[in-house]
């Protein structure tokens, strides 16, 4: 019963987040948080106060409000340009605001398009489609180590291409 309920409810929650902040990582995180908040607090659900869907929607709305507050508190300190963060990819998480810009998505798409086909395929499979390395290795008839190796090179190539693209756009990468 729970399985079916969640299967039906995950897509609308995800869609609500994506529409507000077009950021897949954030959408996954908030959807996940909402579902687990609901599971944890399932004993508190009172049918007399509304349908389970409405109850879950309320939890999602709370999480969206929390996220909005978090952003409001950081807004003044945030610059939305990817260029500023490329050299700090090792050290700090990229701000959500940077990820949500269409310009960022476009730059990443262009950089990705310049990688070797195998590297593109590996990055898309692992990070966009969520395919496990073991499955990739099986699919490509390689060892897992070889897949890891491709991914390692691909990540570094992607960063290098991104820097190149950003620099060519006239932005300084500090």
């Amino acid at each position: 019963m729970w399985g079916r309920f969640l299967t039906d409810q995950i897509p609308p929650i995800y869609a609500v987040v994506m529409k507000r902040w077009p950021n897949r990582s954030l959408a996954e995180e908030l959807t996940q948080k909402t579902i687990f908040d609901a599971l944890r607090g399932r004993d508190s659900y009172d049918p007399a106060r509304g349908s389970p869907q409405a109850w879950l929607k309320k939890i999602a709305a709370n999480n969206l409000a929390l996220e909005a507050r978090r952003r409001a508190s950081q807004a003044t300190a945030m610059n939305g340009s990817l260029a500023l963060y490329l050299d700090r990819l090792q050290r700090q998480p990229l701000p959500d605001q940077v990820l949500e810009k269409e310009e960022t998505a476009e730059q990443v798409r262009r950089a990705l398009g310049q990688l070797k086909q195998k590297e593109q395929a590996a990055l898309k499979a692992k990070y966009v489609e969520g395919v496990q390395v073991a499955v990739m290795a099986h699919r490509w008839q390689m060892t897992e180590k070889a897949v890891h190796s491709i991914l390692y090179r691909a990540r570094n190539s992607l960063r290098a291409k991104l820097k190149h693209i950003v620099e060519r756009n006239g932005e300084n990468v500090s």
Binding site: P11, E29, Q32, R40, L94, L99, A121, V128, M142, Y152
Partner: protein, 687 residues
């Protein structure tokens, strides 16, 4: 040592996800989330699974601990410990007072009560933990100076510096969350070992699991019981019984695991195998230290163990590279090559070896390899000395440094050093035994990046794997001598009926509107423009030399290809040394029309004069497998008929009259029944 968290991979993942603006959640995400949610519903673990690093780490801890103790209930409590509450503080205080302790844990597997843990503890002396997982029994002893870990069935135990002389004892008796939530139930008070105990009960999560814990007058935990609600019935799930101030046999803290079990010392193992002090030769190359650790020969075959590591000076110069991401050799790696150079007349002279890596380990910025070198010819003094040649590649920050200086970031050293070969010979078996012992030791001390892994196979399989590699470097002519050098190719249709009159070759070229067929051991060089036609039985006889050079190594694979363009039928099969004297079946099936475009803009912008644009296709899962199809292009588009399976389309172009460059590769995967495929645009780049 504090280590800063590396956000690189996480950021790359988020950047890639940023390209996806679809408001539909990805299927993999939904499935994973459902799986996690279902797991929580069934085991009561209330921790959400977040993509953030900290939560991942916690999940890993949960998984590891679950494996160790074979029970999930208490672990959730250990990991969700909050500020000490009064009752909890009292219990912990009591625990600290305990001089000795014996803890026995049971779990229920498929309804059967099974012992899961047995812990002996004596304050200031040590702890011994025996835990029975589903697959392995683990013993950990820690006496405050050293820690020994032994997995039953293994031939060795590992000794390290002490890490946790209290260990699981504290964890087992640390049910903070429980004590926070529990309520007194005097109705269940009872005597345990003659000591009056008070019962505290709780449910966590409510309605799915319940537990009972009995504390004695000193608030020491004496007994813990957990039950799970399954199909309306409360069933036992876990039981822990604790006895205090029991006599402990101190010999249990001694590291005795059986007569045949040897103890390996982590630090020593690493030192023994990688140490530069005992190396036969060391040299600084490109900011890296290359070392030769072992050199053996059997006849003219050479075995060599080498390593490459970053030098101290380089570390000071470029700084520590924190880009770990699973790869250990962050500064450089190497490949052994063979000697060769042009003489005064411009003729290429070489001392060629077939080289294969038998075993390798990448750890802590060191790359260590055992290689075999089988000569592919004869030359003076080949039994006396070995010209060790290598291509050294810098990586990471060191590579960046070379690029910034405008210097090459990889170099070929021909030779790096000429070493005298030992007079005495060493046989294969001795080398294999040596590698096995070394790699077993390295793996035992938790070095992960090892190939092959002795723990994943029996010793016999390990030996067989190395022997297979050794056989693979032997020249093809040896296989021909024992098996014959003929290969019978049988061309059949999808139903297995022979197909007469089909042209078979090793490479087919579509030269604009003309089909050209080639047979030979290597594309473009040792091949002739000809084909063989299948007879009434669908048979074609090929000679060994049609497929391989006689000195080619037996591990190489050649391909035969048959094509009936007008019917859209194609077949490609690999031929190995094992196929000589046998029959290779080419089953003709409808091919898939693979399309794509080639963009050479970047090369034209670079001022290259381009000519003879073509694509080459290898229908092989291996990188850069042999080309079986070539198509010369009139324009940017290509269209080629390919068989089911995985392969790679890459192209080449001649420019500036002599140089040849490669296109980017485009891998394809054609499923059965697939009729058409578009590989998109491939951007040409100069090598």
């Amino acid at each position: 040592m504090n280590k800063t968290k590396d956000h690189f991979e996480d950021n790359i993942s988020r950047l890639l996800k940023a390209t996806d603006k679809n408001t539909e959640p990805p299927t993999a995400f939904v499935q994973q989330l459902l799986c996690e949610a279902t797991a929580q519903l069934s085991d009561g673990n209330a921790e959400p699974h977040s993509t953030h690093g900290q939560s991942w780490r916690r999940r890993w801890l949960v998984a590891a601990a679950t494996f160790v103790i074979g029970s999930a209930g208490l672990i959730a409590f250990w990991l969700t410990m909050t500020q000490p509450q009064t009752l909890y503080a009292q219990a912990m205080e009591a625990l600290r007072k305990a001089q000795t302790m014996h803890v026995v844990g049971w779990g229920w597997r498929d309804g059967v009560k099974t012992r899961s843990a047995d812990l002996w503890y004596e304050q200031g002396v040590g702890v011994k933990e025996t835990t029975w997982g589903r697959k392995q029994t683990r013993i950990r002893i820690d006496n405050g100076q050293y820690e020994w870990t032994y997995y039953q069935g293994q031939e060795y135990a590992v000794r390290r510096q002490s890490r946790d002389p209290v260990g699981m004892v504290e964890e087992v008796l640390n049910p903070a969350k429980f004590l926070e939530r529990a309520r007194r139930d005097p109705a269940g008070d009872r005597k345990i070992d003659g000591v009056p105990c008070e019962l505290y009960v709780g449910e966590y999560p409510a309605g799915t699991k319940r537990y009972m814990v009995w504390l004695d007058g000193s608030k020491q935990i004496r007994r813990y019981e957990e039950e799970e609600l399954l199909e309306g019935q409360w069933l036992p799930d876990e039981l822990i019984v604790v006895t205090y101030e029991v006599p402990v046999d101190r010999t249990c803290f001694e590291p005795t695991f059986g007569e045949s079990v040897r103890v390996v010392v982590q630090e020593e193992v690493q030192g023994q195998i990688f140490t530069l002090g005992d190396a036969l030769y060391t040299k600084q190359v490109m900011g890296l230290v290359f070392a030769v650790h072992e050199l053996h020969r059997q006849g003219n075959r050479i075995y060599v163990a080498c390593s490459l590591r970053v030098s101290k000076e380089t570390l000071e110069k470029v700084g520590r590279d924190e880009r770990v991401n699973g790869l250990s050799n962050r500064y450089g790696d190497f490949q052994l090559t063979h000697w060769g150079q042009r003489d005064e007349m411009g003729q290429w002279q070489s001392h060629p070896y077939e080289i294969d890596t038998l075993a390798r380990v990448d750890h802590d910025d060191i790359q260590f390899k055992w290689c075999v070198l089988e000569p592919k010819g004869t030359w003076d003094r080949m039994d006396k000395e070995y010209e060790l040649c290598a291509r050294v590649y810098t990586r990471g920050k060191l590579q960046d440094w070379y690029k910034k200086q405008g210097e090459p970031w990889h170099k070929q050293f021909r030779p790096l050093v000429t070493l005298p070969l030992p007079a005495e010979q060493t046989n294969d078996r001795t080398i294999i035994e040596k590698i096995y012992a070394q790699f077993q030791a390295l793996e035992s001390v938790r070095l992960r990046s090892i190939q092959p892994k002795p723990s994943r196979m029996s010793k016999e399989d390990f030996v067989a794997q190395i022997q297979q590699k050794l056989a693979g470097v032997l020249p093809m002519r040896q296989a021909w001598q024992t098996q014959g050098s003929d290969v019978v190719v049988r061309v059949v249709d999808e139903q297995g009926n022979p197909m007469p009159g089909v042209k078979v070759a090793t490479r087919i070229m579509q030269d604009h509107d003309r089909w050209r067929w080639f047979i030979g051991s290597s594309a473009g060089q040792n091949e002739q423009e000809r084909f063989a036609t299948s007879d009434d039985q669908g048979r074609v006889l090929l000679q060994g030399e049609d497929l391989f050079a006689e000195h080619a190594a037996q591990r190489w694979v050649s391909h035969v290809v048959a094509l009936v363009p007008e019917q859209g039928l194609i077949a490609v099969e690999g031929v190995t040394a094992g196929d000589f004297g046998r029959e290779v079946v080419l089953a003709m099936k409808p091919g898939c029309l693979v399309r794509g475009r080639v963009s050479e803009t970047a090369l034209r912008e670079a001022g290259k004069e381009l000519r003879n644009l073509e694509i080459n296709v290898s229908c092989s899962r291996k990188n850069h497998g042999r080309d079986v199809m070539t198509q010369r292009l009139k324009g940017p588009g290509f269209e080629v008929l390919l068989p089911v399976g995985t392969g790679c389309v890459r192209g080449s172009v001649n420019y500036d009259r002599s140089d040849r460059t490669w296109l980017q590769e485009a891998w394809y995967d054609i499923a059965a029944g697939e009729k058409e495929k578009d590989l998109g645009t491939i951007e040409l780049q100069s090598r």
